[in-house]
Symmetry: C2
Subunit: 206 residues, 2 copies
């Protein structure tokens, strides 16, 4: 009986580990596809093909279908980028270097992917804002989470009106990322990096 229990526990654990693994694979593949070709441009079979997870596991983990996968990707991608913003604030020695680090990371990711990997939230957000309350809410939460994390980072360096400045920073970066991706040219992001430094100085003197 005890032996059987151990065996059952082992099997459950193995099944859970496998399940979690296939769930993660599915979400990672979906994030990549949604940011590159959009939510509507991605079929469930594309996610299965890219993620390598069995079809059954997809229905098991996401009984709500594609909308539920979309919501999960927005949350996961939102949290991951937020953690990176928090880390950037921690390792930077000034507000200017903090913002330069974020802009630099965005430009590096975009360029190294052949101008494919833009914002993991923007495409789905724009496509679904008027169609799905669930996805619209998740996209809103992700972007507002980044804004709060930027504000939090700016406060560490004593920037006044950090909330207002964070809105400006995120607007500038998101817009520059859209232009850089569309132009296949990192210049708009490099320009954003310079402008944000200029803005911090102008902001400090007002």
């Amino acid at each position: 009986m005890v032996k059987a229990d151990i065996l059952i526990n082992k099997l459950i654990f193995l099944r859970m580990a496998k399940a979690t693994d296939s769930k993660e694979k599915t979400l990672t593949a979906a994030i990549q596809l949604f940011r590159r070709q959009g939510f509507h441009g991605t079929a469930l079979r594309d996610i299965l093909a890219a993620g390598g997870a069995p079809r059954g596991s997809l229905y098991f983990h996401f009984p709500g279908g594609k909308e539920q996968i979309g919501e999960a990707t927005l949350r996961l991608a939102g949290d991951a980028a937020r953690a990176r913003i928090a880390l950037a604030a921690e390792v930077a020695s000034s507000a200017e270097l903090f913002l330069r680090r974020i802009a630099g990371a965005m430009a590096a990711e975009l360029e190294s992917s052949g101008f494919n990997d833009g914002c993991p939230i923007a495409t789905t957000a724009l496509e679904t804002s008027a169609q799905s309350k669930t996805l619209a809410a998740a996209a809103c939460e992700a972007l507002q989470g980044w804004e709060r994390e930027i504000a939090h980072g700016l406060k560490r360096f004593g920037i006044a009106d950090a909330e207002g400045m964070a809105t400006t920073v995120l607007s500038q970066l998101e817009g520059a990322l859209l232009l850089a991706r569309t132009y296949h040219d990192p210049k708009p992001l490099q320009r954003a990096e310079q402008v944000l430094a200029l803005l911090l100085r102008a902001h400090a003197s007002t």
Copy 2:
């Protein structure tokens, strides 16, 4: 014979007028649908239903199918917004008022549409950048056309490095529009308006 010629000309003219009308209807409907729910989220039947043009006219005007419609909408929406930017520069009495007018118009359009009518280029641009060279090129041309028109307007008011400033302005406005639409809140655009004024002053003193 002369009478027959006149009649034929009349018929051709009538057919052309009708054709042009249905082409315009189709494009206007497509612009609206693509900006609200994306290129991939819009089926040809949605465009037909919204535009009211007969199916035959759609195939007649756009033998290249949805991609050709997408390209035409990007060009039309790009040109229309560029003309509005040019007009804003003409009627404004300062660079600050010029930029405030553009930001104000974007906020007004977004709010009056219940936060549905965002940028007519961004959604399709992000969805198709990695998939269709034709659509990517048209989206790039539209956004770069706006940038050039903003630079042209800034030059009228003697702004130095008008090209660089135009990149910043368009990045800020596009990003703020994405946030405003996703948040269902005009504040990011209002904030962008203030920041662009601040930037013009900071820019002038550097």
